[in-house]
Amino acid sequence: MSKMLAIARRDIASIFSSAIASIVLTIFSLILGGCFVLQLADYQTRNIQIARQAAMNPDPEALFEQVDVVEMVVVPVIYVGAVALMFIVPMITMRLFAEEKKVGTDELLLTAPLTTIQIVGGKYLAALATIAAAIVAATLPIGLLFLMGRPPWKIIASIYLGIFLLAATYAAFSLLASSLTQNQIVAAVLPFGLFLLMWVVGLFPTEEEMKTSTWWALSAYTSTSWHFEDFLKGVVDTTHLVYYVTASFLGCFLTARVIDSSRWR
């Protein structure tokens, strides 16, 4: 475990020392920050409208309860964040293996007294930690917003659980792509295409089509968007938990197989 953490620490430092990571994280926080500002403005406008109506309404509390800050601000920001992660995560993880192959330090890594699990685990932890820190930092205004009110902690926990699981799945497959090539551009573009397909495929079929067609049901099941939506409502479904955990595991497992193959090829 300590060796895995050592690799993770080294790679986190490597990520943050690269200009691309800083640019990517700046863009990510700018996107989420901009979305937050727009949604907050919308929420404030709605509050003002309600306040004007409340003066003439016998039940003003019922009017204010229609304006839900989670629905109007938190969910849209997190949803945009989930979409942005499709290109943010590959950009962060693209150098983890590809860079090592390109400069030749992968041989040092493979000949060091480290197991494949430690190597892959360490790099995966580095990717996860970086992405998690980016999500937390970029959504910090949401946390501060709730200091001004009474937050529904359970729903917010569900929303963050959803986006962290999504990020974990993206990180695993981005790591796989990085292990397959020494070209960082390919290592970023391939998983982005895959994530886009996995996101979009769940938006096509209707409920009727999913019931009548095994093909559509399977397509929807492999979709990350289909598994993400319930978390935004405050519903934690074990099916979605198993999907994300097994998908992340599969990505890391296949990465380990690719790394192993480097030893005997």
Binding site: Q44, F64, D68, V69
Partner: protein
């Protein structure tokens, strides 16, 4: 690799990808999709044939051995991942973290769904409103909870004929059918959907007869003291409402699931009381609402069923107060002694000018009477209505808590001479609910959304008629999380979101770049 091999590999890749995409996007043209995939497969075989010597060379080496092992290992793990997900789907568990459990069906609904004996088709025609998503989510819950509920979303643009066949006249309607029964609803809450499912899934008709003839309040009356809203409420819950005049009948109609007597202005005659007594003694069901000073001549009659009706006025001095009213207006928040009618009922109900109704200290041996609703300990029942000054008088008035609604059950003395209709659901003896206020159910108070008079009243009717569908499901209130953001706080948040945080990342990157440049 020769050019032919590269071309075959390209055609194979393209054919398989395009074929898969075609199959996904155009499921009706699967023949074309499979043909394209077939071409891709043939090209792949051609590639393998052209490169057979190379492949054979690869396959015989150490790499091939290790590669084969790795491939087998990977396929096993992929299969295990599929199995794990399949098991997760079969045994899914959901945790609804919303405050009002918006995405979980209530116990009454689950009970009705588990009791379905035939399929129920539910078709929702969306209106294009953002709330459609919530309706679809709720209908999905029904489908997931019962294999007998089949839900379909009918797009009015894509399937106008189907919308016409369903008989739907307005968008946002849910059309339900089961067997020969059909209904449609525009209200889309859980209560409306559950009651509609129950309505179509049974051929039984539950009928309530409102007694008239002595100035009782009428279900047709639309004035503020009328009961037209109550009639509509019961109609929405698959109950048929009719009227009857006991003075012209020798027996209560056989299809009566229950009798309702509301605020008779004059005493019931001897014949009316005997018809009522015969009906109840044979296991009939009745709901009586009797305002102070107007008992319909039923005080002595009710004493025979272990119910004490008092000529008094309940005065509430504790609990919540309705602005602009006096102590004769009572809000009950917690005064619901345990009974199936009030089980899990913890909502505010409103009453106006109430008399006490108590279980008798020594009821008849075959009768059991339990209080349903009572006031706070700070209340009292003013027994001297002529006293010049209001106030509790020790020895005369009754100290709170004062029950003013009771439920009685009894074993019938003898089986009915003419058996009741099958739809009347009288399985286990007579039942009666008596409440010392009629205003709580009239058009001025019953519709008020802040008070749960309607759910409590339908619970009473449901218990009396043994119809679970009438057990109300109070609407799930979406309590939006609300924050108050001052102007300064808003500006600070904006600066943090678009300047400070992105700036921190940019500055960190810039400093790192500068440091590396110096190196």
């Amino acid at each position: 690799m020769s050019r032919a091999s590269i071309a075959c590999l390209a055609v194979a890749g393209l054919g398989i990808v395009v074929g898969l995409g075609w199959r996904t996007l155009r499921p009706l043209e699967s023949a074309a999709a499979y043909s394209i995939m077939g071409v891709g497969g043939a090209a792949l075989l051609a590639f393998l044939w052209l490169e057979r010597k190379e492949i054979a060379g690869l396959a015989s080496g150490r790499s091939a051995r290790y590669g084969g092992n790795a491939l087998a290992y990977s396929l096993i793990v992929i299969a295990l991942v599929f199995v794990a997900n399949w098991v997760a789907v079969q045994h899914k568990k959901t945790f609804d973290l919303t405050e009002d459990k918006l995405f979980t069906l209530t116990e009454p609904t689950l009970k009705i769904l588990s009791g379905l004996t035939r399929d129920v088709d539910v078709a929702f025609v969306p209106s294009g409103d953002p709330s459609d998503a919530t309706v679809e989510d709720v209908l999905k819950l029904y489908q997931q909870s019962s294999p007998r509920v089949k839900v379909a979303i009918v797009d009015p643009m894509k399937e106008p004929r189907k919308v016409e066949q369903l008989g739907v006249r307005a968008l946002g309607t849910i059309a339900l059918s089961s067997g020969t029964q059909k209904t449609s609803i525009t209200a889309t809450g859980e209560e409306a959907i559950t009651n509609a499912i129950h309505k179509v899934s049974t051929d039984k008709v539950v009928k309530a007869y409102f007694v008239e003839g002595q100035g009782e309040r009428s279900p047709e009356e639309q004035s503020e003291h009328g009961l037209s809203y109550l009639k509509t409420l019961l109609g929405n819950k698959s109950l048929t409402v009719a009227t009857c005049n006991l003075s012209t009948l020798s027996d209560v109609p056989r299809d009566a699931s229950l009798l309702v007597i509301v605020d008779p202005q004059r005493p019931l005659g001897e014949h009316e009381i005997s018809v009522l007594k015969k009906y109840l003694d044979e296991g009939g069901r009745a709901l009586l609402m009797l305002d102070p000073t107007r008992d319909g001549g039923l005080t002595a009659f009710l004493a025979g069923y272990g119910i004490e009706l008092h000529e008094d006025l309940v005065v509430e001095q504790g609990g919540a107060i309705l602005q602009g009213t006096g102590p004769e207006t009572i809000i009950v928040s917690e005064g619901y002694p345990f009974h199936p009618i009030t089980d899990h009922f913890a909502y505010n109900t409103l009453y106006h000018v109430v008399r006490s109704v108590l279980p008798a200290e020594k009821p008849p041996a075959t009768v059991t009477v339990k209080p349903l609703v009572q006031t706070t300990p700070q209340s009292y029942a003013e027994r001297d209505l002529t006293a010049p000054e209001a106030g509790y008088t020790e020895g005369t008035d009754r100290k709170g808590p004062v029950p003013f609604a009771v439920a009685a059950t009894w074993t019938p003395a003898a089986p009915p001479a003419a058996p009741p209709a099958e739809s009347t659901n009288r399985s286990d003896g007579g039942r009666m609910v008596v409440i010392g206020d009629a205003d709580w159910a009239d058009n001025s108070i019953l519709p008020v959304p802040q008070f749960a008079n309607a759910p409590l009243l339908t619970n009473m009717v449901g218990w009396l008629s043994e119809t679970e569908a009438l057990i109300s499901i109070p609407a799930k209130k979406t309590k939006g999380a609300h924050v108050v953001v001052s102007a300064n706080a808003g500006i600070a948040l904006v600066i943090l979101a678009v300047i400070v945080i992105p700036g921190a990342f940019a500055v960190t990157g810039g400093l790192t770049w500068l440091r590396r440049r110096k190196l």
